[in-house]
């Protein structure tokens, strides 16, 4: 941790040339991963890191630097070097620091690292056995326990001083099934920001068996047809579509610079009236939850879309000043090596009034993308692509054959407007989102919903 005296010296050094805001972010992190490959403990990863990031802001300009040499003189020298990025007179003094109390949403107390390694290995062995027992077609079972504990401390020239600790723990299941030259894989990755009790609530054997079964069923999947069709997108992992196709376009880093399709459109109907969407960094235990964001603001629940109308954006201090919008606890970074910007936390479309059964029953011909693997988006145009994981054709209101190689393509606004049914089975999944401030853990979720007339890529000819 950094002393108040040193922090003040560093921030003062940064403010000498006209910056109107200076911030020091300290972080120490330890990571551990235990990896079993087909039941053999092949490796244990132990990584520790610590460093400081210094950010200076002046109007709509920023300078940022980081180092993992934590000697006081080096930190002051870095701040002086960064101050050379501006060429004016000192305009603000660093205020006296006031300790900010943090409401602890996620009590975990270093639980992963306190759990004996033998206990974690036992869980992994159990999961491996459950996967392998499903069928000899399961040629490879990979399971890992991954824990990450981070302690952070933030000082800024407004007088903020705050400390926080975070822990992310995931259990990774991956099954590979093979028949001759044909290979398919499936995975499941439950995780928590809370304590290890979460893993006791999981049916490890069932998750392992389901993962193996999904990989095996993939061997018999047919090539997915292509073209425009109605697409039912499953809950939980399906939420990655909203995250990528819409969420990124609601981040201030794109909106403030007019690089988003949703810039200057607050109050406009941008989605079907069925859509209510939130970003909520306060959900206990969820993957994108934090007590505070990475510039020290308490996290919030922000309503992004209300009954289809664009309600609000995700905003950090820097871009918020340009937008004249208060920061709403959405400023994040992977580590001290990244300048923080607006990022999502747990982002989801809220429950609707239909049931999953009703949506399937009301679909004459289309695709049911039960899970999505991931994808990407261009916020300026809103255009996205997503690869489907498990997907089926729906015929005459019934789930029919499984298909592989399906990709969903469209624009965020088109999808939001074409959602015509939303079920009531909201669930969130764990993931990592990569962007300018690195890879951060996010929760993505939605209930099962249907999008009319979405472009699907596949190698199976026309849907019939």
């Amino acid at each position: 941790m950094i002393s108040k005296k040193l922090a003040k010296q560093v921030l003062e050094a940064g403010l000498v040339s006209g910056a109107d805001f200076a911030e020091l972010y300290y972080e120490e992190e330890k990571k551990n991963a235990i990896n079993l490959d087909n039941g053999v403990l092949e490796g244990v990863a132990n990584v520790s890191s610590s460093g400081v990031g210094i950010r200076l802001l002046k109007g709509d300009h920023s300078v940022y630097g980081y180092t993992n040499d934590l000697k006081g003189g080096r930190l002051i020298a870095l701040a002086q070097k960064l101050a050379n990025g501006f060429h004016g007179q000192k305009v603000v003094e660093c205020r006296d620091f006031i300790n900010q109390r943090v409401k602890n949403i996620n009590p975990n107390d270093g639980a992963y690292f306190k759990t004996p390694i033998q206990e974690k290995i036992a869980v992994l062995k159990q999961a491996t056995q459950a996967m392998k027992e499903v069928s000899p077609l399961v040629t490879r079972a990979l399971v890992s326990f991954v824990g990450d504990q981070k302690k952070i401390e933030i000082y800024n020239s407004d007088g903020l001083h705050v400390k926080d600790s975070r822990e992310h723990t995931r259990l990774v299941f991956r099954a590979e099934a093979s028949r001759g030259d044909q290979h398919e894989s499936a995975f499941a990755i439950p995780g928590t920001t809370g304590n290890m009790d979460y893993f006791k609530t999981l049916d490890i054997n069932q998750i392992a068996r389901n993962t193996a079964q999904e990989a095996i069923e993939g061997l018999d999947a047919k090539e997915c047809p292509s073209g425009k069709m109605d697409v039912i997108i499953g809950n939980a992992t399906g939420g990655v579509l909203f995250h990528e196709a819409c969420g990124h376009s609601l981040e201030a880093s794109a909106v403030a610079r007019n690089l988003s399709v949703f810039a200057n459109r607050q109050g406009e109907q941008i989605a079907s009236p069925l859509v209510n969407a939130y970003d909520d960094g306060t959900m206990p235990g969820y993957w994108g939850t934090n007590n505070i964001d990475d510039e020290g603001h308490p996290t919030e629940r922000t309503c992004l879309i209300k009954n289809g109308v664009l309600n609000d954006y995700l905003v950090d201090r820097f871009f918020g000043q340009q937008m004249k919008h208060r920061a709403n606890g959405a400023c994040r970074r992977q580590s001290y090596k990244y300048e923080p910007i607006t990022r999502m936390s747990n982002t989801y479309i809220d429950n609707g009034t239909s049931t999953v059964e009703e949506i399937i029953k009301n679909t004459k011909l289309g695709l049911y993308a039960k899970s999505l693997r991931g994808g990407s988006v261009m916020p300026t145009t809103g255009q996205f692509e997503f690869a489907c994981g498990v997907a089926y054709i729906v015929r005459d209101g019934k789930i029919a054959e499984r298909v592989r190689g399906a990709t969903l393509i469209g624009s965020g606004e088109e999808v939001l407007k074409n959602i015509d049914m939303i079920a009531n089975d909201l669930d969130l999944d764990t993931g990592y989102c990569g962007s300018a401030s690195g890879s951060v853990p996010v929760g993505t979720g939605q209930p099962t919903l249907r999008v009319k007339n979405l472009l699907v890529g596949g190698n199976g000819g026309k849907l019939a």
């Binding site: 053999v40 630097g65 180092t67 255009q383 190689g405």
Partner: protein
């Protein structure tokens, strides 16, 4: 970093077989936005990784805390973890008789002032904005890296390399009516004076403007030409599957295919890590020397990519492809990799296609490629090929194919080999009967 001290500390804890990797990096980057330098970032960071053989098992740990206490903790982690590792057979390299050396550090790059580099990207932004009234927001980023890598092991292997490079990345938003398109172009090198501002701006501007004239075709199978950038993306994914560890575990399509015809006879893929350029790599993460070699020759698979352990299991020489990760010594192809060009010019190749689709971008490979099956289904951008010429732009289309099938079915390869991102080089490739959906 005093690695002698680290080995002394290891020896004091009865660890006599180990290797250390120390890396120190400094970087700076800045970007333009609306005529000014908007972001400026600088950093220095150091880290140390140790691999040790304890009870015949390879144990790995990594830290950024280079204080005595941090290094002690790192070594203690190795010792406490070792009893739980079940995999045996890890090894430390005993050294090679000869290592190729090349200084891929350009002293001049560091002497050019930050102001000059900032002016360069401001001038790129200015030139792009002035190029066409349809251009809106322009962003240009300059980044510069300087790295020192040091490797040492208990058998006396000592390697050190200092390198630097810079990159420029520009993006421009173009609008015409309701159509908005984003064009972008990267550049990477370590000779500052080789960068040609005029040519860079011209290429990006033309590339972006061409995207505005958009049409869509019907979904069916087309004759397709992949642009060099797309070919390199496919090439990287294809060669990654030669990882011998994945082969041993049955998780690669290339299993049991050494000395067999895996690709079309037109396909020769060569890696050149010893090419005297900024991406020169003389040795891998285990201290094994690299070499220039063909991986696939006239469609026949010649070798897998090995580290020490997989080479021993296959009974072959290690190939210098080891990379260190946080938990294991993994395997990765070198960046300097190319597909051998053919005889046709790009124009002659397009003329042979007649009518078809020219693909310039494939997006989402990280999710849209199933590495095991090789199936790809990806969003693409490109142009209509009509009477052998590139005409209207195409977007919102998907390309569905199989990675292994693509390299097996290449009909023609052009001669216009182009250097693209991360060192991969490739020409255009032409295939027929590729499924495209709109």
């Amino acid at each position: 970093m005093n690695l002698n001290k680290v080995f002394a500390l290891l020896a004091s804890k009865q660890i006599n077989e180990a290797e250390c990797r120390f890396a120190s990096s400094t970087a700076l980057s800045f970007s333009t936005f609306r005529g000014a330098i908007a972001n400026y970032t600088t950093h220095t960071s150091n880290h140390l990784g140790i691999d040790a053989i304890i009870d015949h098992k390879l144990v790995i740990s990594y830290t950024e805390d280079l204080t005595n206490s941090g290094i002690n903790t790192l070594i203690d982690n190795l010792i406490t973890t070792a009893p739980y590792i079940e995999k045996t057979g890890g090894m430390i390299f005993h050294g090679a008789s000869k290592y190729k050396k090349f200084t891929n550090f350009n002293k001049e790059l560091a002497t050019i002032s930050v102001q000059e580099k900032q002016n360069l990207i401001l001038n790129i932004e200015k030139a792009l904005k002035a190029y066409d009234t349809r251009f809106g927001e322009v962003e240009v980023e300059y980044a510069e890296y300087e790295d020192i890598h040091e490797y040492r092991n208990s058998y006396g292997v000592k390697l050190k390399n200092k390198s630097n490079s810079f990159s420029i990345f520009a993006s421009v938003v173009a609008k015409e009516g309701k159509i908005t398109k984003v064009g972008y172009l990267p550049y990477i090198g370590n000779d500052y004076h080789k960068f040609n501002l005029t040519a860079f701006v011209e290429e990006l501007a033309q590339l972006t403007l061409k995207k505005l004239n958009v049409t869509q075709l019907t979904s069916k199978k087309y004759r397709v030409v992949f642009d060099p950038e797309v070919t390199t993306t496919l090439l990287g994914a294809y060669i990654s599957q030669l990882n011998a560890e994945e082969i041993l575990k049955g998780s690669s399509w290339f299993k049991d295919k050494i000395n067999t015809q895996v690709a079309n006879k037109r396909v020769t893929i060569v890696e050149t890590p010893l090419k005297r350029d900024f991406d020169f790599v003389g040795a891998d993460a285990q201290g094994v020397p690299t070499m220039n070699r063909p991986l696939i020759k006239k469609g026949v698979l010649l070798t897998y990519l090995h580290n020490l352990e997989t080479a021993q299991k296959f009974g072959v020489e290690p190939t210098g492809h080891a990379v260190a990760t946080a938990s294991k010594i993994s395997i990765h192809p070198h960046d300097a990799l190319h597909l051998k060009p053919g005889r046709l010019t790009k124009e002659e190749l397009l003329a042979q296609v007649g009518d078809g689709i020219y693909i310039t971008e494939l997006e989402g490979l990280h999710a849209g490629l199933d590495a095991l099956s090789g199936n790809i289904s990806l969003k693409a951008e490109g142009f209509v090929i009509q009477d052998g010429k590139l005409t209207t732009a195409l977007d919102m289309m998907t390309v569905t194919a199989n990675l292994f099938d693509i390299f097996a079915r290449i009909k023609k390869i052009s001669q216009n080999i182009e250097y693209v991102k991360e060192g991969f080089m490739a020409p255009c490739i032409y295939l027929d009967k590729i499924a495209i959906s709109f």
